[in-house]
Symmetry: C2
Subunit: 133 residues, 2 copies
DNA sequence: CTAAATGATACCATGTTAGTATCATTTTGT
DNA sequence: ACAAAATGATACTAACATGGTATCATTTAG
């Protein structure tokens, strides 16, 4: 029962590292060295981050990646969403009633509440905060 | 990004159904009819519930399943744990530091807090409560 | 003894996760 | 012009988890 996959994990670490370089362009070889993430996998992750607008990429010699937003505006829930889709805690429970005879059972309500809480908690953490510690 | 698999979903429905029968032994055919769950799959789920002591099973003609505890003492987080393992939200984050240079980053702390919250929330919901609605 | 139930177990199909490999394109420096 | 160094795009593979099936053994009521 886990919530965060390695995709997301790697992405967050890469973003933190890039953020610390404040404005410098960071290339994959440097990231691989620093974070010990398999190179091709990291590349794919970074391409994802680029497409979603978290980082800007620069090709060619001296190229690499830079944050596209202020670290304080990058929410980890959005990063997670990029790789794992949106938060849907009660996927299964919505298909059929867990307790037949009741239109909307209390479990769904409670799970919904949980989801809102989780989502607002995760939604409040940014890369910027992670840097400050 | 989901939290509950079909195993767990089916298990909870089955437990609710059995609980309503208060002390009667409920056999698989009846459950299949009522819950529209594939028979062999449901059997496997029930065997899991039996092994973990949520229900007691009776073989032979007239056999089936009965709750082994009061509905109010069956917590859905334990049911989920049976099929999906324990709650470990920061599995990935624990392996390596998301923010190198810091022994314990604040993300881990926050995820830990989330996990405690989730676990206590889910840990407070019982089959008994689901029945009351 | 038989029918109806569960126990144990092995199997299969599909999807997701994690990771690899390859070639195309862009850009900088000489 | 050209080569080197970077990213873009994309296809592929391996391992694992999920969802589901099938089979045979065992128990038990009648």
């Amino acid at each position: 029962m886990k919530l965060i996959t390695r995709n997301t994990d790697y992405a967050i670490r890469a973003l933190c590292f890039i953020a610390r370089k404040e404005g410098k362009v960071v290339a994959v070889p440097e990231l691989v060295k620093a974070l010990a993430i398999p190179r091709p996998f990291l590349r794919k992750v970074l391409q994802g981050l680029t497409k979603k607008g978290f980082v800007r990429s620069y090709k060619g010699i001296g190229g690499g990646f830079m944050l596209a937003k202020a670290p304080g505006r990058i929410y980890i829930i959005d990063v997670a969403g990029t790789f794992q889709g949106p938060l849907r805690l009660n996927e299964c429970f919505l298909k059929k009633e867990p307790c037949p005879n009741r239109k909307v059972c209390c479990l769904k309500k409670r799970i919904d509440r949980l989801e809102k809480y989780l989502s607002s908690e995760l939604g409040s953490i940014t890369i910027g905060e992670l840097l400050k510690g």
